[in-house]
Each structure stands twice: as C-alpha cells, then as structure tokens.
C-alpha cells in the first residue's frame, strides 16, 4: 500500500486561501500516522514564489503547476493536473478543501480516478486499519462515519473546521511538467462583490436574522461589523426578499461552521438549524421564550432584538 498523502491547495492572486493551510496541516497529521510523505500541489499562474510557504505547515514536497493559462480555476485543466499529480505521487489519500472550487474539482477528479470521495468532511480519524471520515448528511441533521474502498481515497474537508498547525517540513519545491488540454470552459469575467464583505462559509462570526427582523437588518449589520463577522439570513428572510440568496444559512442554503453564530429573530426551523449546528458557540436572541432555537443554543436571550442588539454592539465597542 502506498502511504503518501497528496493535498491540493487553492490560491487566488497568489494568496493561499486559509483552507489550504488547513488541508496541509491535516495532511501532515495523516501522513505521520501512515509514516508517509506529504506532497502539496499548487496550481496557478506565477505561483512558484508562494509555494514554499506550505513547507511551514509540514509539506515535504510541493509540486507547482505554473502557467498563465491557470490564472483562473477551470474544471478541465485543474482536473487534468490533479490527476497527473496523483499518478506521479500514487497517494493513499488526497485531501482538498471543500470550497466552491474544491467541491467542483473533487467531484470531477473522483470520477476521473474512479475513486471514492468523502465530501465536506468535518474530521478524518486514522484507526489502525482504516481512515474514518466524519461528514454531515441532511445538512447536518445526521453525522455519518464513512470509510472508502480502493485507492486513492479522496476527502474534501469543510473550510474553517480543521485547525492549522505550523510544523517544519522540508518544503522542497518542484515544478512539474504540465500537460493539460485547453479547458472547454473559460472565465470571461469575475465580478467581485463590493466592499470587504466576509464570505459566510469562511467567517469566524456570523450574525443571522430571520422572521423577527421584519426585514430590518440594520442592527444586525452593525453588530456583525463590530465583530468583524458576516451577516446571514434564514430562508424566510431570503424568501421575503430581505436578503440575497447568497446569505441564506440552512439545509438548502449555506452550511456554516463559525466560532460564534448569533441567531436573531430566528425561530429555529429544523432546516435552518441543520445549516449552522456545527458552529462552536450558538447564541439565540428571540422574544418568544418557547422558540425552538433556544434548544439548539448555548446562550439565550429572551428579548426584543431591536432593543437588545444595539446594546450588545455598544458593550462590545467598550471592550
């Protein structure tokens, strides 16, 4: 059995996404338990200079596929290169960050390699015989422990869940010959969202609003702002047109795992709770003491959100 671990990283404009450090750190941990080598793959344009940074998180070898045609992510080219890197390293396990890009790539790569894929994992446990992957089903209503038959095994891990650990690795950078077909999809344009809005799935703090806001998110926006967090919304708030679809947290929206989730005026419908139940600390603010959300929260406040939230914001500013 091969014992190496291959991690596929993600960068944009020569800046690694945080999940890249998470997958390298996790890869190091698994490679150690398999007594194998950790190989990281970096794909992009002009990315050789940043590749060595992965050595700090324990990468033994860093393969770099560098080409101006790889500036933007395309499924075809990135799958070709990832499959080639897998053929070269013959890994027991491939780890990819389950971002929008990572999920797209992991799914196509699994089909290309005819390999089992555990999508959106929260944990990888190395037992004596097998790797056991923990992943949520039904948006998080149920947790599954799964194992994968065959080699390589592929795990796409949810961003923001696994910790990053600095460990010295030899970090030898090796440019690889890249042989990829011209991608059949092309990125015509990238419309970056205005302002320095924090992406929900990457946010450390989320303040969400629901029915109880009556569409007024001003206090929620302000609280999120002082916490350097993102604003989320329940399905009701999105269906009412109060917030964009991008902001929806829940089984049919985004599934999030921040350190702090503050649910304001959200009753706690099952499908909403499913999307945020893996948050580390959950605070619920609702004027109905019987609201089901309190059963899912760590800390509760029964009160009018329009009165309480500005006071929370004020108190935080004092710190």
């Amino acid at each position: 059995m091969t014992q190496s671990v291959l991690v596929i990283t993600e960068q944009q404009n020569k800046v690694f996404r945080k999940v890249s450090f998470e997958v390298v750190s996790e890869g190091r941990r698994i490679a150690d338990s398999l007594n194998g080598e950790l190989v990281a793959l970096v794909i992009g344009a002009d990315v050789e200079s940043i590749a060595k940074d992965l050595g700090q998180y324990g990468a033994d070898k860093i393969l770099v596929a560098d080409d101006s045609a790889l500036y933007d992510y395309t499924t075809d080219a990135f799958t070709d290169i990832s499959a080639a890197a897998a053929a070269q390293t013959d890994p027991a396990l491939i780890i990819i960050g389950a971002s929008s890009q990572g999920k797209d790539l992991a799914a196509r790569l699994a089909a290309r390699l005819d390999a089992g894929l555990a999508m959106d994992c929260l944990a990888i446990k190395d037992t004596d015989e097998k790797l056991i992957f923990t992943r949520p089903l039904y948006g998080g209503k149920i947790m599954a422990q799964v194992e994968i038959e065959g080699t390589p095994q592929i795990a796409a891990v949810r961003p923001n869940v696994l910790s990053t650990t600095k460990t010295a690795g030899s970090g030898i950078v090796e440019k690889i010959d890249i042989n990829f077909e011209k991608s059949r999809t092309s990125v015509v344009e990238k419309l970056i969202e205005e302002g320095d809005k924090i992406e929900l799935t990457e946010a450390d703090v989320i303040v969400s609003g629901g029915h109880g806001t009556n569409g007024d998110f001003e206090a929620i926006e302000e609280l999120a702002s002082v916490l350097n967090g993102a604003v989320g919304a329940s399905r009701f708030a999105v269906d009412e047109g109060w917030r964009s679809h991008n902001d929806q947290v829940g089984q049919t929206g985004k599934i999030v795992s921040p350190s702090l989730y503050i649910a304001c005026g959200i009753s706690g419908a099952i499908q909403h709770v499913a999307g945020m139940s893996t948050s580390k600390t959950i605070v619920a603010i609702n004027k109905d003491p019987e609201a089901p959300i309190f059963q899912k929260a760590d800390i509760g406040i029964v009160g009018d959100l329009f009165e309480v939230i500005p006071k929370i914001t004020e108190e935080i500013k004092k710190l």
Partner: protein, 262 residues
C-alpha cells in the same frame, strides 16, 4: 434545444431525520418525500430554456417506483417526458455508481444541455452532476445563478466565495443549480391533468447495459460505517436582566470572559 434534467427525491427538508435500528441508514417511517429543491430549480430553468429556444425537456431519475411522483410533478410543471431507472439492484448506489447509471440511461436521450441540482439535500455529496459530465465527456459549470444560451454556447454566472464568475462553454454541457437561479413554478391543475398523459417510461439496469456488479449497496466506494445524531448541546444558559442594557452586557461578559471570542 434538448434539455435533460436530473432529478431525485429526498426527504422533506422540514423532516426530522432519525437513525434506523441498523445504525447505518435513516428511519424512513412517516417521511414525506419531495423533489430535491435544487432539482426544482433545474426543472424550472429547463422549461424557461424551452420557452425561449424551443426543443424538449426530459426529466431523468434513478430510484424506486415511488420516484414516479416527482417525475409526474416535473411533467405537470411542463416537462415533456420522463425516464426512471428503477432496479432493486441499483438501490443504495453511491454517487459514482449513480452517475454511471444516469450516464448509461442518457445514451438513448438526445441532449444539448443537462441540468442537475448542485447537490441532493439528503447525502449532500455534490458529486453526481460532475461525475455524469465526466462519464459523458462534456464540460461542467457548477453553482449557476444565471445562464444565457446563444450560438451553441452557454454563458453562466457561477457563485464562488465573494464573487460571481462569468463562465462560457460550448454545448453540449452540464450545469448545476444554485439558489437565486429562478423561482420554480407550481404545477397548475391543467398541468397536472396533462401530465397524466405524458410519457413516463422505466428502465432496469439490463435495459441500459449496466453491470449490476458495478453498482448498488454492495459496490459502494464510500461505505457508511455508522450514522449518529450530532452532539447535543447542553441546555442554553439564559441571560438574566431587566433591561436591554443588562441583557446585552450579560451576553458580552460571557463572550468576553468565558468563551473569549470577543
């Protein structure tokens, strides 16, 4: 423009999901089954494409006999025909096997575009669309919130973290849906009446040339060892206070001093 939509039935998102006695599957007693919400977006988009460009809309599913209900729903919304791969040997196939079966079934359906939900909101694998595209050798564009078709090309708005990418591909291609793409229509009564007369055919694995030894429960690459409920939280600490100021200060004190997050 011939569009094929991949659909599946899933438990209602409002359903409480419980682990069955075997510890590896869910208890389906009393569960209401619905069309996967992301597939509803796919059906709606296909109908809008047909309205704009002509052609046909075919819905394809793999599942047991009771999946006919969601196919009838799609027909009632306006799809032209439906195909169900119904074979007990395919039961509990994993994502790759499901994609193999759907790709095999697609050999008899002419298509310019395939639309699939980004994921089933049951096992949340995000995998079948991409694997079908791979097996058919066509490009994929996932998480689409807007599309335009002209001159044999499709141009899509795709949501990624903090941005929308505009991506173009030549047809045939496969796209997957993201919330915001459209508002799925409801089936009307005349639609429901018409749907009863529309063709809904079934196939088994032998019909579409798929070896049972490559699919089904026993041939899963990803095997479920156990299902568990997520860890339950302890009862919430309720902040006490007479005024909003007291409540706010009480919360911030805990967040700052005990949890140390602010």
């Amino acid at each position: 423009m011939n569009v094929v939509v991949l659909v599946k039935q899933v438990p209602d998102t409002e359903a409480l999901i419980q682990v069955a006695e075997d510890g590896k599957s869910i208890n389906t007693d009393g569960i209401k089954w619905i069309m996967n919400p992301y597939d509803e977006l796919a059906v709606e988009e296909a109908l809008q494409i047909k309205e704009a460009h002509g052609g046909s809309v075919t819905v394809l599913s793999m599942g047991l006999k009771n999946s006919e209900k969601i196919l009838r729903t799609a027909l009632a919304m306006g799809a032209d025909k439906a195909l169900l791969v119904d074979d007990p040997l395919a039961f509990a196939s994993d994502s790759l096997a499901t994609a193999k079966i759907l790709s095999a079934a697609l050999k008899e359906i002419p298509f310019d575009l395939i639309i699939a939900g980004q994921r089933g909101v049951d096992e949340d694998n995000y995998q079948v669309g991409a694997a079908v595209a791979e097996y058919l050798g066509i490009p994929q564009i996932s998480l689409v919130v807007k599309e335009e078709i002209s001159d044999g090309k499709i141009r899509c708005h795709r949501t990624v973290e903090g941005a929308v990418e505009i991506i173009e591909a030549s047809l045939p291609a496969l796209i997957t849906t993201q919330r915001g793409l459209n508002e799925p229509r409801y089936a009307t009564l005349p639609g429901i009446m018409k749907a009863k007369k529309k063709p809904l055919e079934t196939r088994n694995l032998a019909d579409i040339g798929v070896e049972p030894a490559s699919v089904g429960m026993d041939n899963r690459r990803v095997k479920i060892v156990s299902l568990t409920l997520p860890p339950q939280r302890e009862a919430a600490v309720m902040i006490q206070g007479e005024t909003p100021t007291e409540l706010g200060a009480g919360l911030v004190k805990i967040l700052h001093e005990e949890i140390k997050i602010v």
